[in-house]
């Protein structure tokens, strides 16, 4: 339980300090690796060193002979135990891709788990893993998804041409007339490298099976404790109510932890066969080899403009790498890339196509704005179009962006945007960054041999998508006999400040002092069902859940107080953890006094009122999604000798509706922007031409450090509150969506005098030098 010691008239909308920080900053958080159980065992995976190989045999005798080793499991031991392995958010009826717990017969990427060793310690488990003798017969790999269709080799037998799935809109011919009539048509293929979530806390879980009671307890690094419970119950054929999942502190998820993955399945299956709890903590090298990749994709974007710079049509043909074992099913998200390609612009015509391709590399997984490529492709190509047409990129956007006055607006692929102030965020970002003044500064710098550039990117971000199990969220609020308040929600916070925002919202909704409110999250045994964090849903959905539930208790507190104080219910005011009577400052009862009556003096309750002060409620979203939007503006300097890019300023003008806590909003944006900067400049989950991973430590996988990131400036545009609770929209993913194209466009702007066109990420110094040399600079 957590509390805060700050009082305010209204907490939502203010910069309430995070209630999580006291324990986290003191090093007193409880992450999975902090969990210890009696006799706990430790697991380590034996992983394939080959991108693709037949597994001829596995000899575990030497490993099992090592003192302290309890078991070595292979596919033959575990895979047959799987009852069902589908994700609630996707459903069991989609044509999901294969996902065996351990590699069966064939290893399909370097890092593929082939066996699971269980020992007294992780040290021993690693010693034993080295002794497991796997007889591999290496096969040619499908190293590159972009040529996988033509490859002789197949990643999975049942998928000819290595095609995992394909979706698309209307045929391209249907928009051919719009392109034929256009004054300008710009066509470019944009290539993005693989990069990954790389949370500070890697994946991991502790699973403990109690055969006597038939109960499974799981401590997990997860964004969705209830999904881990449902999945585990289905996987093992256990009744859902015999599975308990606990996630206290989680050190970052970013999508990687939305769903149990193959290693989690292995550990859950193994736990049933072990006499004690088993812990698996992914190490960093495993994380960079086997946790998952994202962003590896390319797309051919076509944008038609008239001679005034009005966008007439936009199409995207998109192909993404899904690796060998994607989690979850990647094709639907892939299609959304194309559907949302027109973005926050007034685009009348368009269509899209999407293909998901297997390769002999680590599987694709969800990562903060999984569809973000639509923004990268559109925004980079818009800048290319602006340069070719001799139009200023800000002016091109201004002419075409949707503003509040254009809402609602349905794009040519059938996506309807509403309550979205994109044009307004552009103007705010331009004002903060001082766009016109920068252009003068840039000209002066160029004259002095310095190469400065500015890049913009705008996007429409669907948040709080309300389909399937994401459509509702529950809360239980208990005003304890002392008058203190506990709010129970599903949680899934991985650093998203969900405890803070819940406490803020509940204090407001109940008229309680924030110091009197605490929250319990992340334990399926005590919290209501909820889908966890993902899809930028927690802010609005949790606000809805807390609001619904608090309304029940407000009514009860009001009726109870009116009865005790002999006042009309309409005159009862709830504030500062006290029910008062309007116009009579002396009359009133504290929540402690009311709770004492509610729990211990039932004879004093009004007729018909139930005892106690506890309520549960469930919010059902009223919209399919809530549209957030933003404009990013980045200023950089490029050293044309070394190719080094230095970011000088970074501005985000954004509309996430009303803010529950501006500091939390800014934290979410900053985290995403830093990840996007990493993707644009540094991070690359690289493979060599044979399919071997070459960036498996932090020496080669380069995350941005504090020295690589400028101060991020924010402009909050709250002119278009969402239709959901409190006018809140989600804000979890946008930073990561908007940053890569803003950085790319800034670099391209800096290098514009050299005639350089950037179509390939990441912008490593060497790649920038290569572009300059190619351009003859």
């Amino acid at each position: 339980m957590t509390t805060v010691g700050q009082a305010a008239a209204r907490y939502a909308g203010s910069r309430v300090r995070r209630v999580e920080d006291a324990r986290l900053l003191a090093g007193a958080g409880t992450f999975v690796d902090d969990v210890t159980r009696p006799g706990m065992l430790h697991a380590c995976f034996v992983r394939s060193p080959h991108p693709r190989a037949t597994i001829l045999g596995i000899d575990a005798a030497a490993a099992l002979a090592l003192p302290g080793v309890h078991a070595v499991f292979t596919a033959a031991d575990l895979n047959g135990d799987v009852r069902e392995a589908w994700y609630t958010g996707i459903g069991k009826d989609v044509p999901d891709t294969p996902r065996p717990p351990l590699a069966e017969g064939e290893a399909r990427f370097a890092g593929d788990p082939v066996a699971l060793v269980v020992a007294d310690s992780r040290y021993l488990a690693e010693d034993a893993a080295e002794l497991v003798d796997v007889d591999y017969d290496p096969l040619p790999a499908v190293a590159d998804y972009a040529t996988a269709a033509a490859s002789q080799a197949l990643v999975h037998e049942g998928y000819p041409g290595n095609l995992a799935g394909r979706l698309g809109g209307a045929p391209a011919e249907t928009v051919a007339d719009a392109f034929a009539a256009a004054a300008h048509v710009v066509t470019e293929t944009i290539w993005q490298q693989a990069y990954a979530a790389v949370p500070m806390e890697t994946r991991g879980l502790v699973a403990e099976w109690s055969a006597a009671s038939g109960e499974l307890s799981v401590w997990a690094a997860t964004q969705a404790p209830h999904e881990v419970r449902m999945f585990s119950a289905r996987l093992l054929g256990l009744p859902e109510h015999r599975v308990r999942v606990i996630a206290r502190d989680v050190g970052g998820g970013f999508g990687l932890k939305v769903a149990p993955m193959r290693e989690d399945m292995c550990v859950l299956l193994a736990a049933r066969r072990l006499p004690a709890a088993v812990k698996w903590i992914e190490d960093r090298q495993e994380n960079l080899m086997a946790a998952g990749q994202a962003r590896h994709e390319h797309g051919t974007a076509r944008i038609a403009l008239d001679d005034r710079g009005t966008i007439l049509a936009a199409t995207l043909d998109h192909v993404q790498d899904v690796g060998a074992y994607p989690t979850p099913w990647p094709v639907g998200t892939g299609a959304f890339v194309g559907m949302n390609f027109p973005g926050p612009y007034r685009v009348a015509r368009g269509t899209f196509s999407h293909a998901s391709m297997f390769s002999s590399t680590v599987g694709r997984c969800a990562y903060r704005g999984p569809w973000a490529f639509e923004t990268l492709a559109r925004e980079v190509v818009l800048d290319i179009a602006a340069r070719r047409a001799g139009t200023d990129p800000a002016e091109l956007r201004r002419r075409n962006l949707l503003g509040v006055g254009d809402m609602p607006f349905t794009n040519p692929n059938g996506v309807t945007y509403d309550h979205m102030a994109s044009l307004e965020t552009l103007e705010r970002a331009l004002a903060i960054v001082g766009y016109d003044a920068f252009r003068s500064e840039q000209a002066a710098a160029r004259a002095a041999g310095r190469h400065l550039g500015i890049g913009l990117s705008c996007y429409a971000e669907p948040t709080a998508g309300a389909f399937g199990y994401y459509a509702t969220e529950g809360a239980t609020i208990r005003i304890e006999p002392s008058g203190k308040v506990n709010v129970y929600v599903a949680g899934g916070s991985t650093g998203n400040s969900l405890e803070t925002t819940v406490v803020q919202l509940a204090a407001d909704a109940l008229g309680a002092d924030i110091a009197d409110v605490a929250t319990v999250q992340g334990d399926t045994a005590v919290t209501p069902f909820g889908a966890g964090t993902g899809g930028s849903r927690s802010g609005p959905m949790t606000a809805g859940a807390v609001g619904e539930t608090a309304a029940i208790l407000r009514a009860k507190l009001t009726a109870l107080a009116a009865h005790q104080l002999e006042a009309a219910e309409a005159d009862i005011e709830l504030a500062h953890s006290r029910a008062g009577v309007r116009g009579d400052p002396d009359a009133g009862l504290s929540y402690g006094e009311l709770a004492d009556i509610a729990y211990f003096q039932p004879h004093r309750l009004p007729p018909g009122m139930t005892a106690g002060l506890e309520a549960s409620g469930r919010y059902t979203a009223g919209s399919r999604q809530l549209w957030a939007t933003a404009t990013h503006a980045c200023i950089c300097e490029v050293d044309v000798t070394t190719g080094a890019v230095r970011l000088l300023r970074y501005v985000v003008g954004e509309d996430c509706g009303h803010m529950i806590n501006p500091s939390v909003v800014e934290g979410q944006i900053a985290g995403g922007v830093v990840q996007g900067i990493g993707g644009a400049l540094l991070e690359e989950l690289a493979y060599d031409g044979d399919g071997n991973p070459v960036a498996t430590t932090f020496m080669d996988y380069l995350l941005p450090t504090a020295a690589d990131v400028p101060l991020i400036e924010y402009g909050h545009v709250e002119v278009s509150p969402g239709p959901g609770p409190g006018g809140y929209k989600g804000v979890g993913e946008g930073g990561a969506i908007g940053a890569p194209p803003a950085v790319v466009n800034a670099v391209a702007d800096a290098l514009a005098p050299f005639g350089v066109t950037i179509t390939r990420l990441p912008l490593s110094p060497a790649s920038i030098v290569a572009l300059l040399e190619e351009a003859g600079a």
Binding site: R122, Y123, E126, D127, E130, D283, R284, Q285, D639, T641, T642, G643, A644, V645, R646, L682, E684, A686, V694, A695, T697, M699, D700, L702, P704, T705, A707, D708, S764, P765, A766, V769, A770
Partner: protein, 311 residues
């Protein structure tokens, strides 16, 4: 990422250490600050049956003024060297190289002896030692040895150290006369190993800008299997008048000349060989300008600022 089992030894003297090394043979490895060795062990890239920890070995730490030289004990941390006034006054190149090594947490643990013995080709101290013609001192059961830096670095992570030999210290000649020192490197992020780097030491003979360049050393790192000296470029400039050598055009020529003889420039994720030599030439030129400026007494020469290091 847990190391394989090893036996731990912590001898108290250098003599005991080398006897242990001789006795245990190839299965033994010395550990000082551990900043390179510990990750290697954790990743099981190498497995040693014995680790001999130098933490208790007497006489390995310290910085001593020896008049026209400075002696630095092998166990002296990079952080201690970085904040030494004596080093700043007499071996300024070393002071300037230090902030480029990793991050401060690394420099608090990492030692000069460990850095030289590990002999990473992209590291700063090996290149500085080579540029300054430092002398590396060792002890083995057969006695003490002094190895000139020019003969110390023999290949990738390889040195002239015998298997039973302990690096005990390193002696640098103190700066004298009209001299200038500069080190420049380019890395993907501040604290990363250099994609390319250059260290320059020059000494002038005579007054004003009519002076001649009496001595010139151009050290390169990240540009081959070991730290290197650009001998041909050095020879071409030695003896010339400093007034002719201080122009930007001449600096550019020296930079290109320093790259001319390179045959084994590495290529990896962070840049192909051609890119590294392009950057290397620019770094030599930049270091050259700084070193000349300092030698002429016109400005402090190339206390490379940290923000310039990362690009």
């Amino acid at each position: 990422m847990k190391p394989a089992p090893f036996e731990y030894h912590a001898p108290a003297s250098a003599k005991e250490t080398v006897e242990l090394l001789a006795e245990l043979g190839e299965g033994a490895k010395l550990i000082a600050g551990g900043q390179s060795l510990v990750p290697v062990l954790a990743l099981r890239l190498a497995v040693f049956e014995h680790l001999i920890d130098l933490r208790n070995v007497a006489g390995l730490r310290g910085i001593e003024d020896r008049g026209d030289a400075v002696w630095i004990g092998a166990g002296t941390t990079q952080a201690a060297i970085g904040r030494s006034g004596l080093v700043a006054a007499k071996v300024p190149l070393l002071t300037r190289a230090t902030p480029l090594i990793g991050h401060f947490q690394i420099r608090n643990r990492g030692t000069i002896g460990g850095s030289l013995a590990h002999a990473e080709a992209a590291a700063e101290y090996p290149a500085a030692a080579l540029t300054l013609d430092a002398v590396i001192e060792t002890l083995s059961p057969r006695g003490q040895r002094s190895i000139p830096a020019a003969r110390f670095f023999t290949g990738i992570w390889s040195t002239a150290l015998e298997p039973d030999e302990l690096l005990t210290g390193v002696t640098f000649t103190a700066a004298a006369g009209r001299s200038g020192f500069a080190i420049e490197e380019f890395s993907r992020r501040p604290g990363d190993f250099a994609v390319a780097g250059a260290a320059i030491a020059i000494e002038l003979d005579g007054d004003g800008d009519g002076a001649q360049i009496r001595r010139c050393a151009i050290g390169l790192f990240g540009l081959g299997p070991t730290p290197l000296r650009a001998a041909a470029a050095e020879a071409a400039v030695t003896g010339s008048h400093v007034r002719d050598a201080r122009t930007d055009a001449r600096a550019g020529e020296i930079g290109r000349a320093a790259m001319a003889g390179l045959v084994s420039v590495p290529s990896d994720l962070h840049g192909p060989a051609a890119y590294r030599t392009r950057v290397g030439a620019a770094l030599v030129a930049a270091a050259w300008r700084r070193a000349v400026t300092e030698a002429l007494g016109e400005a402090p020469g190339g206390a490379l600022s940290e923000e310039a290091a990362g690009g």
